[in-house]
Symmetry: C2
Subunit: 220 residues, 2 copies
């Protein structure tokens, strides 16, 4: 089938494409140049039919009887995921967490280039101990424009998150990864994804405290 356009696919598909991409990178590094959906599925704990279905939303990448060419599929997924370019990124909030995010090498490797951290605390501004510079929030608007920032990670306390979001959007940042535990209100045209770490731990606590006294079950 020719590459499909305007075709809809399930939301979880994009996340799985990321997993496929990473697994293929690993295979490529190990000198493997062909892989079947079955082998890839075993590696990732994902059903082979799921993998074939996910890929088929975007094109015909395999060869019947042969599987997928690792390097070719990598190139295609890189294009689909938008990883064939650099994404100028900033981090708002230079606390423990923001600093960790700014220096995480996994982001850089994928083209997410953190240009600076921002904070309202003057003591944090200008710090030389980190590779990524820390600037004052007063300089945010100017910096975004001059460096054509497209993506921001919000690592500020809950109380400041909405205000920061508004400021980012006003300055044309339209990709936001939010770590503050709050549902941000925003214009539909921007891409905002929230990661709520406390909620994850709470889910674990739920499952662990599940006992004879609490017999609720979850589906499947």
């Amino acid at each position: 089938m020719a590459r499909r356009e305007k075709y809809k696919f399930p939301k979880p598909t994009i996340e799985r494409l990321s997993y496929y991409f990473r697994a293929l990178e690993d295979l490529s590094k190990r000198g493997i140049d062909t892989v079947s959906s079955d082998a890839l599925g075993t590696k990732l704990n994902i059903k082979s039919s799921q993998i074939r279905r996910d890929l088929s939303y975007f094109g015909d990448f395999g060869k019947r009887g042969m599987g997928y060419d690792v390097k070719f599929l990598l190139k295609e997924l890189r294009y689909i995921l938008g990883l064939d370019r650099e994404w100028p990124t900033i981090v708002i909030g230079a606390g423990n967490f923001g600093t960790a995010m700014a220096h995480y090498s996994g982001f850089k490797k994928r083209g997410f280039d953190v240009k600076a951290m921002f904070d309202i605390d003057k003591d944090k501004v200008g710090s030389k101990e980190n590779k990524v510079p820390t600037l004052h929030m007063n300089d945010l608007d100017k910096f975004i424009k001059e460096n054509k920032i497209e993506i921001a990670m919000i690592c500020v306390p809950e109380t400041a998150a909405q205000e920061v979001t508004d400021q980012l959007i006003k300055n044309g940042v339209n990709g936001i990864l939010n770590f503050a535990p709050i549902a941000l209100k925003h214009d539909k045209e921007i891409r905002c994804l929230s990661v709520d770490l406390t909620t994850k731990l709470e889910a674990i606590a739920y499952y662990m405290s599940y006992s004879k006294d609490k017999l609720w079950k979850i589906f499947s």
Copy 2:
């Protein structure tokens, strides 16, 4: 309806219960003692019927015509989520990210009490600059037993994550929150949840690079 037992519910429900809990805490703090599913839904961007359905899996908490008693529902959700106790927790990997996790006050507030960080790097061990002590991996087994550790956060590089997981499970830790970008293999009886931060940024990149040349759409 009396509290239902052995009733199954959708997987996303638990995560939403966390959001309800947090929103109710906020209402309680502001002195509001009754809330309708509609008001709660507006606050959280969740449909009121979804909220009522989620809650109904666990019991009858509301009063028709009146809504929900905030304090009562908080107490019930605290019990359901297992937040009515302390969870002795450790962090494996004392890098930027692990240190940030160990010191995040939001976890402590919910009963996730981080007792120590562990690392193989002797330079990091014994550091006094942090409130949470850093110990050497050699002391892990003993520490887990002596402190009855139940939950661990894995903040080590991808290459070490599986080995660490095996060691944790062998020592009886059965709640794991994994931040290494790898699908951990483990016994079905433990509760393991992975958070893949790179994948989240990649999803944003996908949506942002969506353009005239790339007309794939997602459902809804």
